[in-house]
Symmetry: C2
DNA sequence: GTACATAATACTGTATCCATAATTATGGAA
DNA sequence: TTCCATAATTATGGATACAGTATTATGTAC
């Protein structure tokens, strides 16, 4: 492990593990072999275990006393709980963002939206996904509530545990794009209430798409 | 340290530290002396450090690389961010709770409310505070969204960092009680929309009271 | 007396080691 | 063969040891 930043080792390890979990290299339910991983990274178990404590707090892994560490398996209940919550939070962010955004902010957001349009036109799902994330994140930043932002990001991390992205559904990408356009229109019109409502429904729409893919959705692995 | 539960040591230590932080025995800004604490508890630094990682994830302490661990100092910005967020979340919970509560649930809630009334009548602030916490918690449980509950509880933990309770303001206890009565009335009437709105405003009202106490509120220590 | 440089100290971060509990493997009895 | 008991192995949790960096103290020059 080549150290670059003056950051602690356990943080780097935590970040690496996060990436591996999000990439589904470590799958939900998988047992995490501390010794193997420590050897892999060329470190001792100490910082690795500290990293696991952090990931456990984030809900990405579960620490079973004396039985080891396992990648969290997200349940249907989790999905049902998280999406309405995200819808409310991101909806609120959109409303607040409209109220607070300067013309320059709006321009920057429009720019991201353009990238979204381009990605959709060319059918580049990955690029669309990325621009989509950025769009949402930017709005959360504009809302100006750091706590709300961090809560949303934490929940999003948990959602990333499930492998399936609703965007891969036929037609969902176009629908998502339409919804984004509507949100942008509300921004342009300075209609905060409408922006909130549209963003709220946009999230629930993603939820519906996900459920349709796999009605059980229990083990999205 | 006498071990009772089959839970890991770092969890017990984390809980003890939480209590000490909430009790303001460890004050915001205080440096946490790992060696001293480990000796105090009769344990090694290993589980203690793991506990600190957990507390850091909860936002109760801050880990500065190579410089140690400090109890988080909550800022005015944090207060301004958290209260509106809590108001929205707890408001939503109240609405959902009204929609889902059975008569038995309502009865149990009314019971807690009675304890609140009694505590207020006798001027027992601590008892009032406790019944108040329980009342809010019960409503969050009734809402039936575990994620929402955990988000709210996490935020509440952070708020507990600031020592001042708005309840200690002259007249605030009575006002709080009135607001609770109104929420209970909405419950009784089965008016979810009103319950949401009342609970939302109840939280903001607590926010106002806190701000009035100390307009800077920056260092509530 | 003050400011700076250097040395001593103390603490953090990581590695290694050990005890205990859990799991797996092995062997015997029904 | 199947089930259970016991032994061997392995992994987790915790303690100890060590290296490197911050901080503080000391001393010297101005």
């Amino acid at each position: 492990m080549t150290r670059i930043a003056p950051t602690a080792l356990y943080q780097e390890v935590a970040e690496r593990l996060r990436q591996r979990i999000f990439a589904h290299e470590l799958m939900p339910g998988d047992w995490i072999d501390e010794k193997k991983l420590a050897d892999q990274y060329g470190i001792s178990r100490t910082p690795l275990r500290e990293a696991l404590k952090v990931l456990a707090s984030e809900g990405l892994v579960e620490l079973k006393p004396r039985r080891g560490c396992y990648v969290t398996e997200i349940s249907r209940q989790d999905i049902d709980d998280i999406f309405p919550l995200m819808a409310m939070l991101e909806g609120r962010c959109a409303g607040d963002a409209v109220r607070r955004a300067s013309p320059a902010d709006f321009a920057a957001l429009a720019d991201i939206h353009k990238r979204l349009e381009a990605a959709a036109r060319d059918g580049r799902i990955d690029a669309f996904f990325e621009a989509n994330q950025e769009f949402h994140f930017r709005i959360q930043e504009l809302a100006g509530n750091r706590r709300m932002l961090s809560v949303i990001q934490d929940l999003r991390k948990v959602l990333k545990l499930c492998r399936l992205h609703s965007l891969s559904i036929e037609g969902r990408l176009q629908q998502s794009l339409d919804e984004h356009r509507a949100v942008m229109a509300a921004f342009k019109a300075g209609d905060a209430v409408k922006a909130e409502s549209l963003m709220h429904d946009h999230l629930l729409s993603g939820y519906d798409a996900l459920i349709k893919m796999d009605p059980k959705a229990a083990k999205a692995a």
